[in-house]
């Protein structure tokens, strides 16, 4: 099977031409064929052409996961433009800020995005294009597909320590390098059905969708609202006969403990690739016992800026295991550990075809995190690791205040900056308390003591995604400090622990 491509729009175009009647997507119990998906893409592309979208232009994709949104992404790519996915559940102010920062003039949106229309207009968006294609005439011109592997394909936003989200610029080649490697390594086949569980603003669906189209396989879409209910995710997995999962451990553990995943044998399931956070060993062991070796389980590591850059195939866990390694670099990728006491420990820096171009319109931050050395561009992840004698890498924490909660990456400084902008707040500090299933739960302390928790949370809802809003906001007249005068995060971590037990 030829899985080599130059352009992210190629896989769907190629498969739709060859097998128009094959199932491309499974959505709420019905199937969408490659031919039908291709027709939707061309209709939306017609609208993009009429809106004047030119190659290289950033185009917002606003809504919740749906076949229409998948088609919109492909339509943008076929115009050699750059897509920027935006979750409709985000506050209007955050969407408007991302749109303005990216210089987006055209937004394709589905129904759930409509409530943000006025914010988009205020952010100087000129054209709003619907994903509805009924009665829309398709594009009459063939897709040129002039972009190449080094050209920008999409921008994914992630939390930023400076107080605003960062747009990570990913090329066609960055995405394809990981997809091509994983399809081969995990031996995906044309009859595979890949569960697409995470929101399209996340990096996991990039693999789910492009691997599907590359193979002529089928993606089983879990609606974003259904994904909030583990039992719904399990229902979709079973009804859609999914064969492969690429998910964050907290979502898998939810399906295990509250979704009834283990009430039946694995059925069609052949693979579990997990990423984004460590999988607690006792729960992973439970999963392995359930699948009795019939499922290929793998731990994939890598921040959005590198796609997945290491892997470890989890065949078994001995009784003394307390962690799972992040493993070995994927093909053509180099990993070094810098700043440690030896070459066997330190910060993870990555070079290779999956490493992103940089941050959108943030040259200084890009220069800080991407460094040139030995003729290569290395991304400094901020993650710490050690390498054992067998060459396996083990995750060893962070060197800054970035944490993961439910698989989402959160810079505590961004949350603190947002709280600091709330009326009446003079100082804010946020700590993350580890939680087995969720990864971390956030707690905030603010001064002065008269600040109301509801006022702060209400203000945050207008600017932050829900997973970044702290579980509790406590107000105090003063915050604890160390002898050197710095805010004492340790004392607040202990106080957060006590608050949870109350």
């Amino acid at each position: 099977m030829n899985t080599q491509c130059e352009h992210l729009a190629e896989p769907l175009l190629r498969t739709a031409a060859r097998w128009p009647d094959r199932q491309a997507l499974w959505w709420n119990g019905r199937t969408i064929t490659y031919g039908e998906l291709d027709a939707s893409v061309e209709a939306i592309r017609g609208n993009l052409i009429r809106a004047g979208v030119s190659p290289g232009a950033p185009v917002g994709i606003l809504g919740l996961k749906s076949p229409g949104l998948v088609a919109a992404i492909q339509a943008v790519l076929r115009q050699d433009a750059v897509y920027v996915p935006l979750d409709a559940r985000l506050p209007s102010a955050r969407i408007a800020a991302m749109v303005a920062a990216c210089g987006i003039q055209t937004v394709v949106m589905e129904e759930s995005g409509r409530r943000h229309e006025s914010a988009l207009r205020d952010a100087a968006v000129k054209s709003l294009v619907s994903t509805e294609t009924a009665g829309v005439s398709p594009s009459r011109s063939a897709s040129a597909l002039n972009a190449r592997r080094d050209d920008l394909a999409y921008v994914l936003h992630t939390s930023g320590s400076t107080g605003a989200p960062k747009g990570v610029m990913i090329t066609h080649g960055n995405a394809l390098a990981f997809v091509e490697w994983a399809v081969e390594h995990f031996r995906f086949e044309r009859d595979d059905r890949l569960l697409c569980h995470a929101p399209l603003t996340f990096d996991l669906p990039v693999f789910d969708l492009y691997a599907t189209f590359l193979l002529g396989a089928c993606a089983v879409l879990v609606a974003d609202t259904a994904a909030l209910f583990p039992s719904e995710a399990v229902r979709v997995l079973r009804e859609g006969s999914a064969t492969s999962l690429f998910m964050v451990p907290s979502a898998i553990m939810g399906m295990m403990s509250r979704g009834g995943l283990m009430s039946k044998p694995p059925g069609s399931l052949r693979r579990l690739m997990y990423s984004g956070e460590p999988f607690p060993v006792p729960r992973l062991r439970e999963f392995l016992e359930w699948c009795r070796g019939d499922i290929h389980v793998a731990n994939l590591y890598g921040p959005i800026e590198t796609n997945a850059c290491t892997y470890f195939d989890v065949k078994s866990l001995d009784s003394t295991a307390s962690a799972v390694p992040i493993g070995y670099p994927i093909a053509n990728t180099e990993i070094r550990l810098i700043g440690g006491e030896t070459e066997l420990d330190g910060e993870v820096v990555v070079a290779g075809p999956t490493v992103a171009m940089g941050y959108w319109r943030q040259p200084e931050l890009t220069a800080e995190r991407w460094v040139e050395r030995d003729g290569k561009r290395w991304y400094r992840t901020g993650d710490l690791a050690r390498r054992d004698q067998g060459g396996r890498l083990w995750y060893a924490g962070r060197r800054d205040f970035m944490v993961k909660s439910r698989g989402f990456r959160i810079e505590l400084e961004e949350v603190e900056a947002a709280i600091g902008r709330c009326p009446g707040v003079s100082e804010a500090i946020v700590v993350a308390l580890p939680h087995e299933e969720l990864g971390n739960v956030l707690y905030a302390w603010v001064t002065p003591g008269a600040v109301a928790e509801s006022d702060v949370k209400s203000a945050l809802k207008n600017v932050l995604p829900s997973y970044m809003v702290p579980q509790r906001v406590f107000s105090r007249q003063d915050l604890p400090r160390t002898q050197s005068g710095k805010l004492d995060r340790g004392a607040l971590m202990r106080a957060a622990g006590e608050a949870v037990l109350e």
Binding site: L64, A88, R89, L90, P91, S112, R115, A223, T225, A226, L228, F229, P230, S231, E232, G254, R258, G259, G260, R406, L438, S454, K457, S458, L460, K461, N462, P465, S466, Y467, V469, Q471
Partner: protein, 81 residues
Amino acid sequence: MNVEDAVWSALSRHLIAPLNRDHASTTQLLQEGYLDSLGIVALMFDLEKEFHLKLKPTDVGPADFENFSALVRFVSTRVAV
């Protein structure tokens, strides 16, 4: 307290941000980001306690949390069983 008031009391404790009760029946709680997965679990726990219900995770789905009216309907049906 009637069912509607008790559901509102529980719901408002777990909303990501305060919501005007007058708009609660036309606000899409999940699609507009007022409830997330943590809030859903905590809300189910409170509803079980308040109404002496025993809910299985498979008893609820997105339609039951679509808006405040849907949630009141869901609880009323379960209470009546």
